[in-house]
């Protein structure tokens, strides 16, 4: 099977072509212009990851929402589950940037953290 991956490491955006074998192994990888592209495409094929940025409800703040992020990327396939989980959360103002909102979020070994200070309103 042939798979195309656009490299997102830098603005050159190399179109990388992977030849995938029967056991999902990479037989060949071409089109990358540097080693970072090879690393990216391999990861993107085997275990793609994304950083989740979203908001959670906040009580008593200057805004009704607090922007949050995962402090490490999480598996791409977990994004939906992660969104449903953050929809259940509510925190109390004030909050400081970097405050851990959920430790070991969804058991993924990453933390969900506040991405700004939010004063009481």
């Amino acid at each position: 099977m042939i798979k195309h991956i656009t490299c997102t490491v830098c603005p050159l955006s190399c179109e990388i072509t992977l030849e995938i074998g029967e056991n999902n192994e990479i037989i060949s990888l071409t089109g990358n212009r540097c080693n970072r592209g090879k690393v990216y495409a391999t990861k993107e094929h085997t275990a793609p990851e994304r950083t989740l940025t979203t908001t959670v409800r906040v009580r008593g703040g200057v805004h009704p929402l607090l922007p949050v992020r995962t402090d490490q990327p999480i598996p791409k396939g977990k994004l939906k589950e992660a969104m449903l989980a953050t929809a259940q959360l509510e925190v109390e103002a004030p909050v400081k940037m970097g405050t851990v909102i959920v430790e070991n979020f969804l058991g993924l070994g990453v933390n969900l953290v506040a991405s700004r200070d939010l004063e009481r309103g």
């Binding site: 656009t6 603005p11 050159l12 955006s13 950083t51 940025t53 992020r69 969104m83 991405s115």
Partner: protein, 420 residues
Amino acid sequence: MRKMDVDVAVIGGGPAGLAAALAARRGGAAKVLIIERNHELGGILQQCIHHGFGLHRFKAELTGPEYAQRFINEVRETDIDVLLETMVLEVSNQRTIYAVNSREGMLEISAKAIVLAMGCRERTRGALRIPGRRPAGIFSAGTAQRYINIDGYIPGKKAVILGSGDIGLIMARRLTLEGAKVEAVVEILPYAAGLARNVVQCLEDFGIPLILQFTVIEVHGDERLEAVTIAQVDEQWKPIPGTERTIECDTLLLSVGLIPENELSNGAGVQLDPITNGPKVDDTMMTSIPGIFACGNVLHVHDLVDNVSKEAERAGSFAAQYALQQLPAAARRVKVTAGENIRYVVPHEVSLDKPVEFFMRVQKPQEDVVLDVGGLRSVKKQFVKPSEMLNITLTPEVLSQLSGDTLTVRIVSPKEAGRQ
């Protein structure tokens, strides 16, 4: 009316204003004031909750609020004054600022130097002349971003996004994550206007179609948007009859460009560049009016906030020098002009006695070319495209080799580059 005297007044508390104020204070200006119309600092970054900011400056992928917070924290550690919820009404060419807020009423601020850092605004439906009725459900992408990320409202359930700039792409992902369905992103150009990274992570990840060389030609619905009709366009961007398709949706987001917000600059009589819609500046970021400087998106629309911060620091430090009467008039001045495949260059004029970072955009995409600045310095570029700003720095040693009174920036073929 309360009267104030300051060394450097910065209009706007977004990324440009924050960096300019900090640089002015570091540069020795004793009284620095930021005037911000919102109730908090940070500007547009506060609603850009996605990550990818600060790769150059902090070597980290920060979210917009995180990038802003770093600067806000720095400002808080200084004695820089901040006036929030204060709207500047007028700037005079004698550097007097008239502003108003609900606590103190009118304010008259005399500044030895002013930094304009008001940012930009989104182009609206009116600018596109999309025919049809005026139902609810048509938003600029940035407005929808604010509703979702700050105010907690989802603008609709089924959306079409016109324009594949980065804001449009980011909003496609944001709407999808929040449970709305994005039917398509429609782009008039033959290629995505935003970064490839955003095409992958915001569209391909969620199976959102990107429809190229199409535009919205009609909106349907009375009270609320019910559908849009899109059509393919020819090379002149004219809709091709017979290619129309109608997409049901309750929301249309427009991500179709940004315009520097220069009402105050105009009022002061600052000369504007008709291409950038921002002030013309020299290599100290000073506008045509002595003592009034400009930086950030009010000057020209940037792709990267890192560049905004850098440009603003330059404006802030020269504003401080001007306020302290330490900015000597240049002995020689040279006009900077846009040559082959260059749409614009900032700054517009240079004095050749200090290092200058030039920022520019091309008119059309090209591959394997050379960016050439006045035959003095050139760099190879694997590709150039209008949506990615280029920059190049020249030292005074190199600049001083220029003969003549114009400096032309061009995109040339590698062959031509050798024949200066």
